[in-house]
């Protein structure tokens, strides 16, 4: 079974040279730590920065340079700043190639729910609805089951939706799955996890074709 860093490390393999990538808050943010140095990639943060770098050294924080999680960050050579409409033009206009974000639920037809739990405090969707409505390639990073042990890969989402029919791939602590034809296709198993374990943790329709390889990093 993978931990959060393991999920991030596996997703980092999906980042190809030449990609502009938007990383959500949580596990997705960790992905930047595992992208190989020889991959040419630029990270976009929707508050208005392309070419985001690591956190600043102590004493070098700048209140005017933050990411979408409101954390102080730095810029890489070649970075740029822009307004929020330009930022979402990059996203809505499909100039950003890959969006990686967390989720509470994903359904077999690619719907995603990640912004609201009825009866609990609603903090808002931020840029998530714009991101999932636009990107051609959306990878969800999440645990396979919730705290009560219930599957988060469902036939239909039970929570209010963030977007419909948009998720293309899901990487969890147990597996890598592709979402197509209204089904989850099992592509890889996490180290030490059996196909049976994945089946029992998946409520949505799971397609298992042939021998399923263990992930390698």
């Amino acid at each position: 079974m993978l931990d959060k860093n393991g999920i991030a490390k596996r997703i980092a393999k999906e980042v190809k040279s030449g990609y502009y990538v938007n990383l959500g808050i949580g596990i997705p943010t960790l992905v930047a730590n595992f992208v190989r140095d020889d991959i040419e990639v630029e990270f976009q943060s929707e508050n208005g920065i392309l070419g985001m770098g690591p956190f600043p050294f102590e004493g070098e924080e700048d209140a005017d340079i933050i990411n979408a999680g409101k954390q102080t960050i730095t810029t890489m050579p070649g970075a740029s700043f822009f307004d929020s409409a330009t930022s979402f033009s990059m996203i809505r206009g499909k100039h950003v190639h890959l969006t990686i974000l967390g989720a509470m639920e994903v359904s077999e037809n690619g719907d995603i729910a990640n912004w609201k739990i009825p009866g609990k405090m609603v903090k808002g969707m931020g840029g998530a609805m714009d991101l999932v409505a636009s990107a051609d390639h959306i990878i969800v990073a999440m645990m396979h089951t919730n705290k009560r042990g219930e599957s988060k890969l469902l036939k239909r989402c039970s929570l209010p939706l963030t977007g419909v029919g948009c998720v293309t791939k899901v990487v969890t602590n147990l597996a890598v799955l592709e979402v197509k034809n209204n089904q989850f296709y099992l592509l890889e198993r996490a180290p030490g996890i059996s196909v049976e374990e994945i089946k029992s943790a998946t409520e949505g329709t799971l397609i298992v074709e042939g021998e399923i390889p263990e992930m390698n990093f």
Binding site: I49, P54, P56, A63, S84, G126, G127, D130, P160
Partner: protein, 233 residues
């Protein structure tokens, strides 16, 4: 040159009244119009509708107006990190309209650019689209979103001149340029108001035509919400 300079925040906010709708720039606490917010607190105007991506924190930014119960309705994309906001929202004292961030940005820009509305794919199939007109373009469904209307826009820039030209710094740009000219009166506060001719026309982010009043802010705290650093190895 048409002179937009006013002497202080008091002059800059003349005319603001109860029941008005305001746009306020900023993302989190980054690039917020600190001086205008302080003056709104001092003036005590209430029953306000505020369009701003976030709602500040408990004791800074728009949180100060919330503490004073001056806000009737908040239009934002994300409102976390604010206990007083949560209390007022759950008790029904505060009305909240949550809007996807890119849509919020575009609703400001549309107002600035004279578009009454636009179609966006964001929110289709979700509760955000409920009751709104939807339409298919190129095989994909879109939601019709109207432009905002506001009485005042309060924005913050790094540098500006008396003609109202603005230059922003870093990610403090965010919603600020989009709100300029999107309200009846745009008030810009700048860290540095420079003499006419000092700003290179090639480097202007927002031309002065979109700004009605400009002043140099007395004080900018520029509080950091999440101070994250790495260790030197």
């Amino acid at each position: 040159m048409i002179n937009k300079k006013v002497n202080n925040v008091k002059e800059a906010l003349s005319g603001v009244a109860n029941n008005m709708t305001f746009m306020l720039g900023g993302f989190g606490l980054c690039g917020i119009p600190e001086n205008a917010i302080s003056e709104l607190v001092r003036l005590g105007v209430d029953n306000l509708t505020c369009i701003s991506n976030n709602a500040g924190v408990d004791n800074f930014g728009l949180g100060l107006l919330l503490q004073n119960k001056q806000i009737k309705k908040m239009i934002s994309s994300y409102v976390g990190e604010n206990d007083e906001f949560e209390r007022q929202m759950l008790s029904g004292e505060l009305e909240v309209e949550l809007t996807p961030q890119g849509t919020l940005a575009e609703k400001c820009r549309a107002a600035q650019a004279g578009f009454p509305a636009f179609y966006t794919p964001a929110g289709y199939g979700t509760e955000v689209a409920e009751g709104k007109e939807v339409r298919e373009f190129n095989g994909k469904m879109h939601v019709l979103e109207p432009a905002y209307r506001a009485d005042y826009a309060f924005v913050k820039a790094w540098k500006g001149d008396e003609a109202g030209n603005l230059i922003f710094k870093g990610t403090a740009r965010n919603f600020n340029p989009l709100m300029c000219g999107a309200a009846s009166i745009t008030v810009a506060e700048v860290e540095e108001l420079v003499p006419l001719g000092e700003l290179d026309p090639n480097q202007i982010h927002t031309p002065g035509i979109f700004v009605q009043r400009i002043f140099q802010g007395e004080k900018f705290e520029k509080r950091i919400e999440q101070r994250t650093v790495r260790q030197r190895s």
